[in-house]
Symmetry: C2
Subunit: 450 residues, 2 copies
Amino acid sequence: MAKRVVIVGAGAAGASAAARARRLDPEAEVTLIDKGPFISHAPCGIPYFIGGVVKEAQELAIYSPEEFARERRINVKVNAEAFDIDVKNQVLLVREGGVVVKYPWDVLVIATGAKPITLPVEGSELGGILTLRLPHEAPRLREEVERASTVAVVGGGYIGLEVAEALRSLGKRVLLFEMMPHVLPTTFDEDMAKLIHDELTRNGVELHLGEKVIGFRGVNGHVNKVITERGEYIVDKVIMGVGVRPDTELAERAGVKLGETRAVWVNEYMETSVPNIYAAGDVAETWSLITGRRIYVALAPPANKMGQVAGANAVKGRFLKFPGVLGTAVTKVFNLYVARTGLTERQARDWGFKPVSATIKARTTAHYYPGGVQVNVKMIADEPSGRVLGVQVVGADKITAGYIDTAAALIGKGATIDDFFFSDLSYAPPTAPVWHPLITAARVLSKGRY
Amino acid sequence: MAKRVVIVGAGAAGASAAARARRLDPEAEVTLIDKGPFISHAPCGIPYFIGGVVKEAQELAIYSPEEFARERRINVKVNAEAFDIDVKNQVLLVREGGVVVKYPWDVLVIATGAKPITLPVEGSELGGILTLRLPHEAPRLREEVERASTVAVVGGGYIGLEVAEALRSLGKRVLLFEMMPHVLPTTFDEDMAKLIHDELTRNGVELHLGEKVIGFRGVNGHVNKVITERGEYIVDKVIMGVGVRPDTELAERAGVKLGETRAVWVNEYMETSVPNIYAAGDVAETWSLITGRRIYVALAPPANKMGQVAGANAVKGRFLKFPGVLGTAVTKVFNLYVARTGLTERQARDWGFKPVSATIKARTTAHYYPGGVQVNVKMIADEPSGRVLGVQVVGADKITAGYIDTAAALIGKGATIDDFFFSDLSYAPPTAPVWHPLITAARVLSKGRY
């Protein structure tokens, strides 16, 4: 009998899992269920839609449900909310247009993703306090902010920074609140984050760092004030960007174990603790390629790969293994591209390494070639072993993404400072200085060895 | 007594060696000798000077001889031609302004670089047949081509293509002759090179591929015709770009062994076959990081690193090891950036691998983000082992250099197709598609595994 593979959640991980299961088992019955109207969706594009760089919200999805269903022979159910799992009988319960439909499964893949964290403070239920998560909600978001003149962004993570930029490009007054002393507090060290502060300030974002939001006030049920430890600020809208947490509600109904990060525990095959149930993407826990420790990283590229692994193993058993992540990420903040991989210096210390670091300024081209810009590279290594643990790059050129990918490639392979120095990277006057900035950083970090 | 380190040739390798020896041994007497007026020079910038992107030839050198001498406490001798070596007495003989000066050495580093190959054909000695090698000759070159209306470029290597672009930007008619069927014949496969042909043609370069130059004709000692197997072409100037060969003349006078590539044989410490004589940079042979086989690669980044190793070992004994090269390179051809690393498919076959390859087209941004351009990626792997052997990238965006560096980082670490697929590369809508083009290429190459 054809294997029945049911996948809940059609974001990056779920859509990848469905496509993969179909490809590796042409006989399987593959069903992909999502509570929203889109599939292969990801929140990454929403800030660009809000800012008007992307015109139509539909563009944010790669496939329409119909296309995906037809081209891949996948049973796609949108606007269908999976709300319970009968593990004993292997049946998924789904609400579709007011009726409950039962989906029997041989293998279930839970890819329910993450949801925005809401602050447990007074007034957080007020209207006009918005979150970004699902592309189909983006048009309403854009409409809401279009009418505002002052918008508070709460949280200085990737999404918070991207939204701040989008709002400034719409001419809004923007107040950015971050409770930690610097933006990107979990992914960048303070010295590098300061470069981002300068760019935000230069572009008119009013920074409120180290300032915790303790409540909201409103009139007629609509927010009009942000209250912090330090003061009160009159605003028209609030966009929350304080991070996401795994949406484990459905998974917990199946009794799967949660990990130490409160995301669904999975092994390298994306198997949960319950037989025949896999999890992948932002709902699942992963682990650091450097330390092996369990971490929670909600980013699209690993979600896609976890989906591939889950989808493949759903039909082929233990066919693929997911190796773990470095938390490689990049974002654009006005004219800066900021990118990072591996551990920050602080994380390295917290995790028991003896970190040393070097921060250099370099140019993106040969010194005589016009158009080069300054780029700042911080490299962190473990002193006793020489192993490079992390890199952060900030510069006004998208080649920054190339630097971080090169660093991620090396770090993922356990590279030392020596390996960085001797890596055979490309050079041409229009594309790089003859000593690549990563190599220069490794030289400085080698303390005179090179 | 202070160690006397004498370095011949102040290009990338020689200048690096001098700086390194000084840094690691503050007591050493370090002397750097060059036959031209510049130090830390490299030919890479000359095409940009000819095309007018760089205004002054002096800009092409990183340091002036005076600065370098002063800041590093190095005895710099420019316009000084080393012409013989007395190995027994450890003395270098140098012609300086008509007199011969003797430099006793404890350690000698030969970094005499490479020189352009001249074709052994009739008329090759005519005036108006020019080569690019030394920045101080660049102003004369620019003057010569400024007066020309039709220029032939002989050789479709990196320099040939860069010069063709420079000449077009000056409004010259340009005829490019390459005896092989495609440009970049030793570094790119034909399928990828064809994309470059299109760009050259679109920009008005007249391509003569698979057409061997068999001679030149002239009037009054100045070239006015290129003669090929197929015809005769009236030209005002000829620029030769048929490659370089190691300038081993001085090294041979010291009796050092040449390798199978006819460059100076060195081991991983950059030691030649003669005690206390090192060689580094374009004069020296190197070896492939993939196969271990001896190869000759004249590129600035490995030259710099070989110089570092030679300079360090000159004062500290066997302190550093050079690991070998992948031949990673990038260049700009009009609006295209073309980059490569490792083995081409043809080389892989010639060297006994069983290559499989995949060529994909991808975009440089998320599909909905404006400004993305198409990029073409070819990936070559060894079928039995899954090891990736080489990558070639052609696209109208300088992020191409970032792709090739990432590929080089992985290939240098022995990465397989699996490693490429699972590498944790960055993603943001403005910088990359969610499946990085290198990962997409690995997927296609995996033949359904991913």
